[in-house]
Amino acid sequence: MIHADIIRKEKISPTVFTLYFHWNATVLPGQFVMVWAPGTGEIPMSLSHLGKEKAFTIKNYGQTSDKLINLEPGERIFFRGPYGRPFSASKGKTLLIGGGSGMASLHPLIKIGSSGLIAARTKDELLFMDEFEAGKVIATTDDGSFGIKGNVLAGLKQLDLESFDMIYACGPEIMLYSVYNHLKDMKVDAELSLERMMKCGIGVCDSCSINGFQLCMDGPTFTMDQLRYMNEFGSEKLTFSGKRVKVP
């Protein structure tokens, strides 16, 4: 395990915190680490900041994420990685599509000129909106508390998607599956970062697999072409115990 001290902590929404730390390593956008809260659990986590100062942006989801966001500056965090295939670098006009805490993994891709489409249940959960240039970002909320009322599709319909050189998306599978279906017959290049149960992070436990690909090694980012052959995508996945269930 690697360990580092938390140097700063920022609350960026009622349930989301960013923890900053020093880690002298090269991590590429889309890669992740396994973060350990000793005594509690270990969960996959993207790095939302990749400079000399690195950071996790963590949503309070359950036991382990809760433990992590309650750590204070000076306390120690433990993790291992980086793991996974990063988003491929791309020049030109990019669109970032993020749902919920999925924005954490897209954050390092926000550059001058990038456009954004952020989807959330409610206004409070829209992350990193103000890091886009004015007029470059649109939002959807399920409850209409901000931006377009509706889900990601409502946002997608407002955009000239084929005008982008690359689209990167990260969020819940159901959202990504909508994005995929909407894009699949268009002339666009896109990479989607999926989420599955991850126990090992190193390609042995099979809990993160989708059609024979391990998210932790072959993903979590996949191209549209790869997704085309995955009949489990948007349809079925395995639970923590390995039981096949429908993707909600």
């Binding site: 000793p38 126990k199 992070g201 042995v204 436990c205 099979d206 090694m217 115990s241």
Partner: protein, 303 residues
């Protein structure tokens, strides 16, 4: 020039090569097993399945130590009644799928084995050796009387070949092997009981503290177990533990194994490991003038 054939036989099971995917590594999802078979494994062993759904331990469930691995997945599994679909998917390519099962009693094992057979599994592997879960696994597998009962009961209930996978965490593996002698083959070895402590957290790295060590570190322990059991019982053996190259496969076979299972090395070498080792074995056979793998089984055992 002779044809170099890698065809291997264990019990009544015929394999295109001696290289099998070990239980618990990339074998929970049917599609993953299918892909590993497509990419070169001669057969796969499923992860160990029990009677009821089990979440297994909370992560961390693995700790990497260079090329070695410590794991305490905790026999997480969906329960036998939810596993038929995965076997069906995996078998679609037509290569053997070996169903691994675990339990606490002979009845439990034999009911699991019957279900595996009904799902179409080509053989069943009895996990008598998981080192980190109480009441099943190696606690069962270090009791010769219970081992004998379980193997006997399963053999009387199913017609597919029965393999018994034994633990090295015992004083006398030969005694356990003898107790399991009704099995069609013995699988040696499962992981070695071990612990890693993170000195900066002052806690065991695995949530369960105890785990099973696998990878190159345990190869000499596995070879010893195979050697011992081959020499003392002459049983058919599948070698397992720390295999990552053709040298390791040859070493296990010279110690008495007819085939091998490969697990942890998938982590470092990926799925292509099966094809690479097959190629390397053929080169070795050529340069060492070995016409059939049968020649070398047990060739390194001094009697």
């Amino acid at each position: 020039m002779p044809e170099y054939s890698l065809i291997s036989r264990i019990g009544s099971l015929k394999l295109e090569s001696p290289l099998i995917l070990a239980s618990g590594i990339l074998d929970e999802n049917g599609y993953t097993m299918k892909r590993i078979l497509e990419e070169g494994a001669a057969a796969v062993v499923t992860k160990s399945i029990g009677s009821v759904e089990r979440p297994g331990f909370t992560p961390p469930v693995v700790a990497e130590m260079d090329d070695d691995l410590l794991n305490a997945i905790g026999l997480s599994n969906p329960g036998i009644d939810h596993f038929g679909g995965e076997i069906f998917i995996a078998r679609s390519i037509g290569k053997p799928v070996i169903g691994s099962i675990f339990g606490a009693t002979a009845e439990e094992f034999s009911s699991l084995a019957s279900k595996m057979q009904s799902y179409g599994a080509d053989a069943v592997e009895l996990n008598l050796s998981c080192p980190h879960v109480k009441g099943v696994g190696s606690e069962v597998g270090s009791d010769p009387a219970l081992v004998e009962e379980i193997v006997g009961e399963v053999k009387s209930k199913v017609s597919i070949p029965v393999f018994a996978k034994l633990t090295p965490n015992v004083t006398d593996v030969v005694a356990i092997a003898k107790a399991a002698s009704r099995a069609d083959a013995l699988v040696l070895i499962n992981t070695v009981r071990a612990i890693h402590i993170d000195i900066y957290a002052r806690k065991p790295t695995l949530s369960n503290a105890y785990g099973g060590l696998s990878g190159p570190a345990i190869k000499p322990i596995g070879v010893r177990a195979v050697y011992d059991v081959y020499k003392e019982t002459g049983k058919e053996i599948i070698g397992c533990g720390g295999i990552s190259g053709f040298e390791d496969v040859m070493e296990y076979m010279m110690a008495g194994a007819r085939a091998v299972e490969i697990g942890t090395a998938l982590k470092t070498s990926g799925r292509s490991i099966f094809d690479r080792i097959k190629k390397d074995i053929i080169s070795f056979m050529k340069s060492e003038r070995i016409e059939s793998l049968e020649e070398i089984i047990g060739a390194g055992v001094s009697r």
